[in-house]
Every structure is written in structure tokens, then in C-alpha cells.
């Protein structure tokens, strides 16, 4: 079987939902696929009130932002078709893509594709890191916030970025004892508001420490930690054990980019954005003129910026098919203005750098 669509959006997180909503609102026939059972991407696991711009969802819980976007999607059902439990598995040369749902394979003929696949979690090398009970932060959140099951009774968190801090707090809310938070750097990585919440609740924070090994035969029963020097080398004779039945890794994300590579988009490695990302201009278009990108797949950032990037990509993809109009320009101008505010200040510095490098590379090619 095959399907036809004008705009084909891959991934139903905040970026993909926003791109699909804008493209359909402007008038393009749009198809959105997501490989999970429920739309919303990372948002469906976020029980905390969001940081970000105040006119765009700051202070609202992630799950509520997802509900709001899904409501908009429903209202557009004449022009926006949604397939859940459906993964995009590859691009072909003649503007065709393959999608796979519950053992059925179909082809999609599209005019423009917007790829918003999000990110994958990084792992960490230590002895026994393959033991049952060593989980990614995403896995822990899925189990706890989607399925209502605690990952364990006593958990050790590795990584003190915002994800490590927020998931620690979510674990405490769910009744799990967080026995410690381990960070290789001498200071906490995430926002201080999140860190002080954890500290107030009595979670020991081990900065300048790392995990050497997980303990146990068939499942985690503890972990050995030690101090590290300023080049992350373990300091001898500082080892000690902690008791826990699971270990949660929150050590960063990497953009999920295989589809871009397959579609022969030019890639560039930018550390500030989380690794390899598809080169793209300020309209979110990649070097393959039929393919756009938005969200964490274009560089690891936040839900708020993913929504705005998605809106720009949706508007520009529509424009490349039907030409511009006032509405398109208004959506793009508003999104760009908000992005500028969000990325200002010291916390946005790394992202600003990374983003500028992408645009420089585009200029150079």
C-alpha cells in the first residue's frame, strides 16, 4: 500500500506536533507518524512545571503542554492525519519514505518531509554497566510516569544536569529513595533551583566523583564510587560502596540522525548541540531541499525551543510548496523573536555558539 501527502512529519514530540499543526493550519495536507503508543515525545513523562519563556508554557507541566498540542492536532483532523505506533524506517530517492506499523509496511510519497526524531540517551562506560537495574533516565521516567511502576526502592543517579536533577525529584515524588547523585565535574550541571530542591530533601550530592562499577550478579545490588581529579581520573584509595537496587544514567543526549544521513543531508559535528546534526539554515531546511528538521534532532535543547523550531519548519515547508503569505511571515517572525529571548543570557550561551556555528557552516557550503 502507499500513501500520498504534501507534508510528511516524522516524530510526534513538541517539535513534530508543532510543525504538523502549523503546516496543516496554513493549508497543507499533512501526515504525522510517531513510533510510540502516545503522542507527545519526551513531554508525556514530564510531571514538573517547565522552565522556558513565560508566554510559551513556562510554569506549565510537560504533560499538560502535550495535551494542549494534541488537542490542536485533533481540531485539524481534516488536513492532518496521525499514525501512532508507526516508525519511519527509511527514505528512498524519489521523495518516498517507508513506514512500519505493527508488522505492516507502507510507502509514503511526500513533497516535503520534516524530521523531528528527537534524541537518544548516552551511556557511560563502567564495570558491569550491562547489569539489569542499570537504566537510562528515559527508561526510568517511562516506567514510573507512564506505567506507574517504580524502577526500584533505592536508586543512585549519575549526572547532575537538569535531567538528572528533575528525574531525581520525580523519583522522590514517586516514593523512591535517591541514595545519591554523582557528578564528575566539581559543580552541579543543571539549574540551581532544581539542585536546591534535591539537596533540601536530603539527597547526598557527590561532585568530583564517578562510578567505577555496579555490584551484583544478576541484578544491581550496589555501586562503587570514587573521587576524580580535574581530568576525570579516579583518585586511588578514595573508593567506597553505596547500597542501591538500581542505577539511573542521566549523562546527556545525542540527536537521533540516521534518517538524515540516509537522505544524504550534509552533517556537521557540533559539541554544543550534542554531536552530529544535519546542516540547516534559519528556515530549518537541510542541505536536501525537500527535508526540514526541528527539535532535539537539530541540536539538543528544550521543549520550548523545539516548539518554536517546529513552527518555523512547518511554515517554511508550506511556503516552499505554495509561496509565502502574511500568516507564514508572522509565524516565523514571532517564533524567531521568542527564540532570541529564550537563548539570551548566560544559560543560552552554549546553544547560541552552537547555532551560530551551524549557520557559518551553511554559509561556507
Amino acid at each position: 500500500m502507499s500513501r500520498n501527502t504534501e507534508v510528511f512529519v516524522i516524530g510526534g514530540g513538541p517539535a513534530g506536533l508543532s510543525a504538523a499543526i502549523v503546516a496543516a493550519e496554513l493549508g497543507a495536507q499533512t501526515l504525522l507518524v510517531d513510533d510510540s503508543a502516545k503522542l507527545g515525545g519526551q513531554l508525556i513523562k514530564q510531571t514538573h512545571r517547565f522552565f522556558g519563556s513565560s508566554n510559551r508554557d513556562a510554569g506549565i507541566r510537560g504533560i499538560s503542554i502535550a495535551d494542549k498540542l494534541c488537542e490542536d492536532v485533533k481540531n485539524l483532523k481534516d488536513r492532518l492525519c496521525v499514525l501512532e505506533n508507526t516508525a519511519a524506517v527509511g527514505f528512498y530517492s524519489n521523495n518516498e519514505a517507508g513506514i512500519l506499523s505493527q508488522n505492516a509496511y507502507e510507502r509514503v510519497s511526500y513533497q516535503r518531509a520534516i524530521v523531528c526524531t528527537g534524541a537518544t540517551e548516552n551511556s557511560l562506560a563502567f564495570e558491569n554497566n550491562d547489569l539489569p537495574g542499570v537504566y537510562g533516565a528515559g527508561g526510568v521516567q517511562t516506567l514510573m510516569n507512564v506505567h506507574g511502576i517504580r524502577p526500584g526502592q533505592k536508586i543512585l543517579m549519575i549526572g547532575s544536569g537538569n535531567i538528572g536533577l528533575i528525574v531525581s525529584y520525580q523519583l522522590i515524588q514517586a516514593g523512591v529513595d535517591v541514595v545519591g547523585l554523582v557528578e564528575g565535574l566539581p559543580t552541579i550541571g543543571g539549574y540551581l533551583v532544581h539542585a536546591s530542591k534535591i539537596r533540601r530533601l536530603g539527597v547526598p550530592i557527590y561532585t568530583s566523583h564517578t562510578i567505577l562499577s555496579a555490584l551484583g550478579e544478576t541484578q544491581v545490588e550496589g555501586a562503587t564510587l570514587c573521587q576524580v581529579d580535574d581530568r576525570f581520573r579516579p583518585i586511588p584509595n578514595t573508593e567506597f560502596d553505596v547500597e542501591c537496587d538500581c542505577i539511573c544514567l542521566a549523562v546527556g543526549l545525542t540527536p537521533l540522525i540516521d534518517l538524515f544521513q540516509q537522505a544524504k543531508c550534509r552533517m556537521v559535528h557540533i559539541g554544543e548541540l550534542g554531536g552530529l546534526v544535519p546542516l540547516h539554515d534559519s528556515s530549518m531546511k537541510t542541505t536536501n531541499p525537500e527535508i526540514f528538521v526541528a527539535g532535539d534532532a537539530s541540536g539538543i535543547e528544550e521543549a520550548t525551543t523545539a516548539i518554536l523550531g517546529g513552527r518555523i519548519a512547518g511554515a517554511r515547508a508550506y511556503e516552499s510548496l505554495y509561496g509565502s503569505n502574511d500568516k507564514v511571515e508572522q509565524i516565523v517572525a514571532e517564533a524567531k523573536e521568542e527564540l532570541k529571548t529564550l537563548r539570551s543570557g548566560s544559560t543560552g550561551e552554549r546553544i547560541r555558539w552552537g547555532r551560530e556555528r551551524v549557520l557559518q557552516e551553511v554559509g561556507a557550503c
Partner: protein, 105 residues
């Protein structure tokens, strides 16, 4: 030991689903219909889902979203089933697959 199921949560509410019986390595277990098989096993205290084919190392779930294949098991005779995203049904036979598993004719 307290149960791993979250009964009361300050923010979330979990929909009560129908209880079903299933079998893990021939032994009877209880879980909720439609939740992932790996989640039901986890709630019942089963963390090791298989052993790795080469080094015989214990394996559990990792990503919980159908990406990493760490959770593959034999379900109703079908090997390499990702149990973290396969919904639980009444009477399911769930087994640890040996090595790479065996495809049945």
C-alpha cells in the same frame, strides 16, 4: 519490601486497568492488561529477562521505549519480542530465550 506499583502520586493519576494472569518460565504471574510485559515482570520483581548469547551475562530492560533490544524475550513462541513495548494479554507465555532463540516452523 513495599510494592513497586505507585499507589498514590502527588501529580499523576494512573488509570486502573484489568488484572490478567500470564506465565513467566511456566510460573503464574499477575499484571495489568495492556501494560508492557517488561513492566509487569518488573513490578513482580523479575529484573533479569534473558542472558546474553555470547558471554551469558544477565540482561534486563534499558531504554523502555523499543530502541535498544535489551528486553527481547520469547512471547507465545515468538522470539525477539521487545517486551518493553509489547502489551500484556491474558494467558501470555513469556520465556527467556536461549542464546539467539529458535525460530519455530
Amino acid at each position: 519490601m513495599t510494592s513497586l506499583r505507585i499507589e498514590a502520586h502527588p501529580v499523576l493519576e494512573f488509570e486502573k486497568k484489568k488484572k490478567v494472569r500470564f506465565f513467566f518460565e511456566g510460573k503464574e504471574f499477575e499484571g495489568f492488561e495492556g501494560e508492557p510485559i517488561a513492566a509487569a515482570l518488573h513490578a513482580a520483581g523479575v529484573k533479569m529477562l534473558r542472558r546474553s548469547p555470547h558471554k551469558n551475562r544477565a540482561r534486563g530492560f534499558f531504554c523502555a521505549i523499543g530502541r535498544c533490544s535489551s528486553c527481547i524475550m520469547e512471547v507465545d513462541g515468538e522470539i525477539n519480542t521487545m517486551t518493553c513495548i509489547t502489551p500484556l494479554k491474558e494467558g501470555m507465555q513469556v520465556k527467556m530465550q536461549k542464546g539467539h532463540g529458535e525460530i519455530k516452523p
